[in-house]
Structure formats: structure tokens, C-alpha cells
């Protein structure tokens, strides 16, 4: 069972369990749990997985280009620089590096274009090709590029740090709202038999859980900066 399933199950159990506690209606509780599980698995988790890959590759790209340029300026060997830059970056890129070991240094660096899939890496390739064909000082040639890469990395780290703090606030606020709804049942326990049969009460509680689910999905989309993609929709990537 992967982490997507575990996170979705936890959220579904919290949603469904809290709905059951608030309404005393097992059907409403199970239905809420199932809808939570389905919605988070279909809309939320793909966003998180995609964001994680983008985030990891951006970080790897930053480290790779920096190490490569520094190593190249010292050794003047593309092969050696590639091996130095790729070391310790991550299992996926290291195994990719091993699978293309028969290629030349420049070909290996070019091969990674599809792996990183960013314009800044294409720009790095362009600078590297200028260095290979015309020579010069690689540090001077790529100084602007390295500055841009550092700026992107620092900016993304600042955003990630601020977002982590915000995530805790978001979870705490929803937890408090959830506690209020659940404790309503226990606070009004003497009258709960009346509430159990009230359609108005049931509709209000379900609206609360629907809002919570909607906000979780929207939050994930905003947090990751990615648009929600509808499952099974065939989107043409350019």
C-alpha cells in the first residue's frame, strides 16, 4: 500500500468517522467516507505525486548543473564532470546515468533533457554547446544561468517553507471546526433523539463535510500550484 492510499484512507476515516459521530447515521458516515476516499484519490493525490516529482527534479537539476559546471571548470572533462554531478543525486537519476554509460559526456548531458524537462536545463545545454564549440571559461559563460538557478531554488525554498507553516494552520483550523461539529452531538445529547430525525440537521452536517472536502482538494491544488485534472480526461501535453 503506497503513501497516497494511506493519506486518502486517513482523511476518509476522519471525514466518515466524524460525520457518523455528528449525525449518528451510519449510512451518512459510510457515504461521506467513500466520497472522501474517492475524491482525494482521484483529484488530490495525483496533484501531490506530480508536485513531488517536479519539486524533486527541480532540486536535482539545481544540484546537477552547479556540480557539473564547477567540476568542468576544474577537470575540463565532460565525462568526469557528468559522473561527479550525478553522484548522490537520487536513485532514479543514478540508475539513468548507469544505463547511458556508453554514451559520450555531451550525449549524456543531452540525454538528461527529457528527464529534467525544464527550460532552464535546455538553456544550460545551449550554454554547454557554446562552450564545447567555441571554448572559453565555463564558469564565466554560465554565471548568469547559475545566478538564475540559485534564485529559483531560493525562491521555491522560501515558498515551500511558508506553505508548510500555512498547512499546519489550515489543518488546525479545520480540526477545531470539526471538533465543534462533533461535540455538538454530545453537548446536546439529551435532545439528540430529536436531531437524529431532522433532515435540516443532516443536510447542514453534510454541507459542512462537503465544504471540508472541497477545501482540501482546492488547498492541494493551490499548495502545489497545479491545476486539478479530471480523471480519465485525455489532455494533450505539448
Amino acid at each position: 500500500m503506497n503513501s497516497s492510499w494511506i493519506i486518502s484512507l486517513i482523511l476518509a476515516l476522519v471525514g466518515g468517522g466524524a460525520c457518523y459521530l455528528a449525525t449518528g447515521n451510519i449510512i451518512a458516515g459510510v457515504a461521506t467516507g467513500v466520497v472522501y476516499l474517492a475524491a482525494i484519490m482521484l483529484f488530490g493525490m495525483p496533484l501531490l505525486s506530480k508536485w513531488y516529482v517536479i519539486h524533486r527534479k527541480r532540486h536535482e537539476c539545481f544540484r546537477f548543473v552547479n556540480s557539473f559546471v564547477v567540476s568542468l571548470s576544474v577537470t575540463s572533462s565532460l565525462d568526469l564532470s557528468f559522473d561527479t554531478a550525478i553522484a548522490g543525486l537520487g536513485k532514479e537519476i543514478e540508475s539513468l546515468g548507469r544505463s547511458i554509460s556508453e554514451l559520450t559526456g555531451l550525449e549524456k548531458v543531452r540525454y538528461l533533457e527529457s528527464y529534467f524537462d525544464t527550460t532552464i536545463y535546455r538553456m544550460f545545454l545551449s550554454t554547454l554547446e557554446i562552450y564545447v564549440t567555441e571554448g572559453g571559461d565555463i564558469i564565466a559563460l554560465s554565471s548568469e544561468l547559475l545566478a538564475e538557478l540559485t534564485r529559483i531554488e531560493e525562491s521555491e525554498n522560501d515558498i515551500a517553507s511558508s506553505n508548510r507553516t500555512n498547512l499546519i494552520q489550515f489543518c488546525l483550523l479545520w480540526a477545531m471546526a470539526l471538533v465543534v461539529v462533533v461535540f455538538l452531538r454530545f453537548g446536546l445529547s439529551n435532545f439528540f433523539s430529536v436531531l437524529e430525525t431532522s433532515i435540516m440537521y443532516l443536510v447542514c452536517v453534510l454541507a459542512f463535510f462537503a465544504l471540508m472536502l472541497f477545501s482540501i482538494v482546492i488547498y492541494l491544488s493551490t499548495y502545489t500550484g497545479l491545476a486539478i485534472e479530471f480523471p480519465f480526461s485525455r489532455k494533450k501535453h505539448v
Binding site: 527550460t119 535546455r122 538553456m123 545551449s126 550554454t127 557554446i130 567555441e134 572559453g136 564565466a140 559563460l141 554560465s142 554565471s143 548568469e144 544561468l145 538564475e148 534564485r151 525562491s155 522560501d158 515558498i159 511558508s162 506553505n163 500555512n166 494552520q169 489550515f170 483550523l173 479545520w174 477545531m176 471546526a177 465543534v180 461539529v181 455538538l184 446536546l188 435532545f191 430529536v194 436531531l195 431532522s198 433532515i199 435540516m200 440537521y201 447542514c204 452536517v205 454541507a207 459542512f208 465544504l211 471540508m212 472541497f214 477545501s215 482546492i218 488547498y219 493551490t222 499548495y223 500550484g225
Partner: protein, 222 residues
């Protein structure tokens, strides 16, 4: 209505299709109001479509303006990204023309078309006009200043003083846009805290609904 129609056209959307979606939403709200009225037997529930329609109409039609603003902001951010690459090419010894041509493959279709037009215009018109036209296609006045400094580099043949001037003008714009982008992204996530607050509001409505039901039950002899 004319502004809305214009905004829809700018975004490349179908006006009739947008109106159909709008009226479908209104219909759902009216249906919900009528349903609640029939179930609960109280006409007060017809307030749901009335108040809901006001909020829904505002949210539905105001999003076009916001999307256009976002589109313009994204174009300006792309300009900064592309001209950072332009600066890299200049640093690598390219001339202005070659540096401009080299950044076209990195551009989106919209900015790419503008860049191609700029390059084609530079070929035929050696005045400042192509640069001004390109700069005018963006909202931010600083972009025009950047384009002006690029023209001065062309005019003076990559003179170092003009190169430094370009770096200074562009650096200021770039810093500003990057900071704005960072702030926007952080603010967007921070604004999500509104949802739990609305959730707390709903929990209060639940409490009121529960109390109303209990009081109703007591009045009717439980």
C-alpha cells in the same frame, strides 16, 4: 454586459456557452430553494436562490477580469524568464539579433509570435519602432524601458555602458517580478484559511438548526 463580452472574447471563450453554464447554475439554485421549500414547507427557503444568485453572479462574472489579469501577469513573468536567457546569450557573446532568435524556442506560442514579429520587424525597420511595439504589448511600463535599453545596445553596437544599463534596468524588473510572483504564491495559499473559517460558520448554522429543531419539538409538546 459589453465588458463581460469583451473579456470573454479576450480569453478566447464562447459567450453563449458561458451564458448557458451561468443559467444552469441559477437553475440549480432555484431547484435547491424550491426543494427546501417543499420539504420544509417554509417560503423563507426561497431566500437561498435569491441570495445565492447574487453571490454566484458576482463570482461567475468577476472571474473573467481576474483571469485576464492573471494572463497578463503570466506573460510578464514569461518575459522576465525569456530575457534572463537573452542576458545569458549576451553574456556568452551573442549579438542582440542572435540572442533574440535563440530565445524563441523557449517561448510560449503567444510570446513566441510576438518575438518572431519583433525579429522580422528589426530586419526591415532599423528604428526604435519594433522595440516600442513589442514593449507596448505588455502592461508594465518597465518592459518598455527594457526594450528601449535593448534598442540602445543595437544602436550603439553592444557598447559596454549600454549593456550595463540594460542589465540594471532588466535586473530591477526581474527582481520585482520574482518577488511579486513569490508573494502571490504565498498569498494564494494563505487565502485558503478562509475555508476553515467558512466551515466554522457552517458549524454555527448547524448549532442554530439543531436548536431551532429542539425548540420546535418542545413547542409542539416533544
Amino acid at each position: 454586459m459589453a465588458t463581460i463580452r469583451k473579456n470573454i472574447a479576450i480569453l478566447g471563450l464562447n459567450f453563449q456557452k458561458e451564458l448557458i453554464f451561468y443559467f444552469f447554475g441559477i437553475l440549480l439554485l432555484v431547484g435547491a430553494g424550491v426543494g427546501l421549500w417543499l420539504v420544509q414547507g417554509q417560503i423563507i427557503f426561497m431566500l437561498v436562490p435569491v441570495l445565492g444568485s447574487i453571490v454566484y453572479s458576482y463570482a461567475y462574472f468577476s472571474r473573467y477580469g481576474k483571469r485576464i489579469m492573471r494572463l497578463r501577469r503570466e506573460e510578464e513573468e514569461e518575459f522576465v524568464r525569456l530575457f534572463t536567457y537573452f542576458q545569458v546569450y549576451l553574456n556568452d557573446g551573442y549579438n542582440i539579433y542572435n540572442a533574440l532568435s535563440s530565445i524563441v524556442p523557449f517561448a510560449s506560442s503567444t510570446i513566441g509570435a510576438k518575438l518572431e514579429k519583433l525579429i522580422a520587424d528589426i530586419d526591415t525597420d532599423k528604428t526604435i519602432r519594433p522595440f516600442i511595439e513589442f514593449g507596448n504589448s505588455f502592461e508594465d511600463i518597465q518592459i518598455r524601458q527594457v526594450m528601449l535599453s535593448i534598442f540602445q545596445m543595437v544602436d550603439q553596437g553592444n557598447n559596454k555602458a549600454y549593456m550595463d544599463q540594460f542589465k540594471h534596468v532588466f535586473g530591477r524588473l526581474s527582481d520585482q517580478k520574482h518577488e511579486l510572483h513569490k508573494q502571490k504564491r504565498i498569498e494564494r495559499v494563505q487565502s485558503m484559511a478562509t475555508f476553515p473559517l467558512v466551515g466554522s460558520g457552517v458549524s454555527m448554522i448547524i448549532l442554530l438548526a439543531a436548536l431551532a429543531d429542539i425548540i420546535g419539538g418542545v413547542m409542539n409538546g416533544f
